[in-house]
């Protein structure tokens, strides 16, 4: 046994330390000190996030004989997720300290950190067993988190739907894995890549295994047709959890997906999974948009919007280049800020008034101009309107997808681009509701809490700066190009 190998996993260990600190604080501190639990967690996690940017972490390492890998890019990916989680944590303070949640908030933070740990594993895993454990660690505790809102029936319903479909999809995923194992006799990524290359694209077994694997991860990414749970779960889950699900969980899955696709199945890219992804992307973007068109519940609406966003994210995967990974990372970074801004507003309004219908947002600008402004920025960013970050991320992901250069990719990008029209439509519906529609009884002016405002400010700053300030994208691309 060589425990020194664990030292390669500095970020995981750091995360576990934060987890333990929160756990211990929650369990053993006296009731009085408990009041500051949320703040303590945010601070711990904030420190941890900051530490993640320490250049001493950016090394390439391989531990457990190739089962675990870390590199500058992977660290960057985890940092992106960390930032997102930090924002989620900040935004959720108000909710976590609400009367119905206060006795469970410790568990909320713990579960959240464990899921993040699972995502770390997914991203760093170079062995499918570890990957599966990460996947499960990233989804099973989430089911408990979805069920957190005990007073809401929807929360329970969402939890059941989530856990059952999650297990179903992981069964399918494992089925695919077993096929892969049967083909290759190993679960190490590097050896698998070898075996896949030998196997070639003409293998029925490989193709079927591949689609099962894609379906399993596609479930987390909520790609169509593996997406149907998304809206119900997003709607039922507490808004902070929904935000977490739609942003962090999805982002991590996207990275993992890229890694699996590129590293394991890279050999059959152009023959097999490029086309599978092609179909999935077209379906995801289109169906996601079509569903989003008619949603009036903000959370459901954001769910479908996030489905179609997943389609755009997949463009980075289908590019299958280092530039693609860079754009993917950038896209997710921007997506985190944009979507969290939207969820931040939704959560703030829900916490203050309990309203989540788009119709309730009518005339919001008159009463809560700042919130509406933040929401508008989020919507514009999600829709890809310059000069907000979403425009840049969309443009770059399209650019890197097209780099491959075949006419088919042009057509795919065109389809994706045309799909931005309906998506713009429904994003504008929200803007319209807030700015244009008249309402006799608009949501009354309320003062959102410091944490909510802080979270929104961070998001708004991100939306505005991430695009215009070019260093974010440039440095990400430099990182991936150096791979």
């Amino acid at each position: 046994m060589d425990y020194s190998q664990f030292l390669a996993m500095k970020q995981e260990i750091g995360l576990l330390v934060v987890f333990l600190l929160v756990f211990l604080y929650d369990t053993f501190m006296p009731k009085k000190a408990q009041n500051s639990l949320s703040a303590i967690t945010c601070i711990f996690f904030g420190l941890f996030t900051l530490a993640g940017f320490c250049p001493c972490l950016s090394y390439d390492a391989n531990a457990f004989s190739g089962m675990y890998e870390t590199s500058a890019v992977i660290v960057a990916i985890k940092n992106i997720l960390n930032v997102g989680v930090l924002i989620v944590l900040i935004q959720s303070i108000k909710w976590a300290n609400s009367e119905s949640q206060i006795m469970r908030r410790g568990e909320f933070y713990e579960l959240l950190l464990v899921t993040l740990f699972g995502m770390y594993l997914m991203i760093s895993a170079r062995h499918f067993l570890l990957f599966v454990i990460g996947l499960e660690a990233a989804s099973l505790p989430l089911a408990a988190m979805v069920a957190f809102d005990k007073k809401q029936y929807e929360s329970h319903e969402a939890a059941v739907k989530y856990i059952l479909t999650a297990v179903f999809s992981s069964a399918i995923f494992l089925m695919g894995l077993s096929f892969v194992y049967g083909l290759a006799g190993t679960l190490y990524f590097d050896q698998l890549a070898f075996a896949v290359a030998i196997e070639g694209s003409k293998s029925v077994m490989l193709i079927i295994a591949l689609i099962f694997v894609i379906a399993g991860i596609g479930f987390k990414l909520s790609l169509v047709p593996f997406h149907l749970w998304t809206a119900d779960v997003y709607q039922g889950a507490p808004t902070s959890v929904t935000a977490y699900l739609s942003v962090i969980s999805k982002g991590a899955a996207a990275f993992a997906f890229f890694v699996v696709m590129a590293q394991v199945f890279g050999a059959v890219y152009s023959q097999v999974w490029e086309w599978m992804l092609y179909a999935l992307i077209v379906l995801t973007i289109t169906i996601g948009n079509l569903f989003a068109l008619r949603q009036r519940n903000m959370k459901r609406f954001l769910a479908f919007s996030s489905i179609s966003q997943a389609g755009y994210i997949m463009l980075g995967v289908i590019a299958n280049t280092t530039g693609g990974l860079g754009s993917l990372m950038y896209y997710i970074l921007v997506y985190i800020f944009s979507n969290l801004a939207a969820f931040g507003v939704v959560a703030a309004i829900e916490n203050a008034t309990g309203k989540v219908s788009m119709d309730d947002y009518n005339g919001l600008y008159k009463t809560n101009p700042r919130l509406s402004f933040a929401m508008m920025l989020a919507m514009f960013s999600l829709a890809g309107i310059p000069p907000f970050a979403g425009f840049f991320s969309k443009f770059f992901i399209f650019t890197s997808a097209i780099e491959q250069g075949s006419i088919a990719i042009y057509v795919l990008v065109l389809i994706a681009l045309i799909n931005t029209i309906p998506s713009l439509y429904y994003y504008l519906l929200v803007v319209k509701a807030m700015f244009i529609n008249e309402n006799e009884t608009p949501i009354a002016t309320f003062k959102s809490s410091v944490s909510e405002r802080l979270g929104l400010w961070i998001c708004v700053a991100g939306i505005i700066l991430l695009g215009i300030v070019s260093c974010f994208y440039s440095s990400l691309l430099e990182l991936t190009n150096a791979m």
């Binding site: 046994m1 060589d2 425990y3 190998q5 664990f6 576990l16 531990a63 457990f64 004989s65 190739g66 089962m67 675990y68 006795m103 469970r104 568990e107 713990e110 579960l111 464990v114 899921t115 740990f117 699972g118 594993l121 062995h127 067993l129 570890l130 454990i133 990460g134 499960e136 660690a137 099973l140 505790p141 089911a143 408990a144 988190m145 069920a147 957190f148 005990k150 939890a159 089925m175 096929f179 049967g182 083909l183 293998s203 029925v204 077994m205 193709i207 079927i208 295994a209």
Partner: protein, 170 residues
């Protein structure tokens, strides 16, 4: 040519797996369903024994049959009144279920059958002793499972916490 005993053993196990699986999902009494599941799991354990993975078979019986099924049975008892019976299935639903299962069967079956390598006979294997299992489980080298072992502990902890949170009344 293998021993007749093992062939007979195989057929018994195979038929048990198939039969009990089918019964599990077709019986209309939920408790029976759980029971058939138990039998299926036992049959699976038998497969492991046939494969000479005694340790795994033991785990299967202990954890799956002993743990999970008991859990399931308890929850059944908790949630349903005795004599509860599933009403008859709508034929449409059954058709859809059959369709899905059949499609899965065909596609995966075709995939499996398309591999001639999968018609391999069972090779000889030295017995997998507890010592080797233990060593490999906690090794960090090639094929070692130390990291997953540690990782799954976190997962299990999380599931415990999650379970508690969910199950707690308030």
């Amino acid at each position: 040519m293998e021993s007749v005993g093992s062939i007979i053993m195989y057929w018994v196990v195979a038929i048990a797996i198939i039969l009990f699986s089918v019964l599990t999902v077709t019986t209309r009494k939920i408790l029976r369903s759980a029971t058939y599941l138990l039998f299926t799991l036992f049959a699976t354990a038998a497969v492991y024994f046939l494969m000479d993975y005694q340790f795994l078979g033991a785990v299967q019986i202990a954890v799956y049959a002993g743990g999970i099924v008991v859990l399931v049975v308890f929850s059944i008892l908790l949630t349903s009144k005795p004599g509860d019976k599933a009403e008859k299935l709508a034929s449409k639903k059954r058709a859809l279920g059959l369709l899905a299962a059949f499609a899965m069967l065909c596609v995966s079956g075709y995939a499996l059958l398309s591999r001639c390598g999968f018609f391999a006979k069972m090779p000889e294997m030295e017995e997998v002793g507890m010592k080797r299992i233990g060593a490999e489980l906690l090794s960090s080298g090639e094929g070692g499972m130390l990291l997953p072992f540690e990782a799954i502990s976190v997962l299990l902890l999380a599931c415990i916490i999650g379970g508690i949170v969910v199950a707690r009344k308030r």
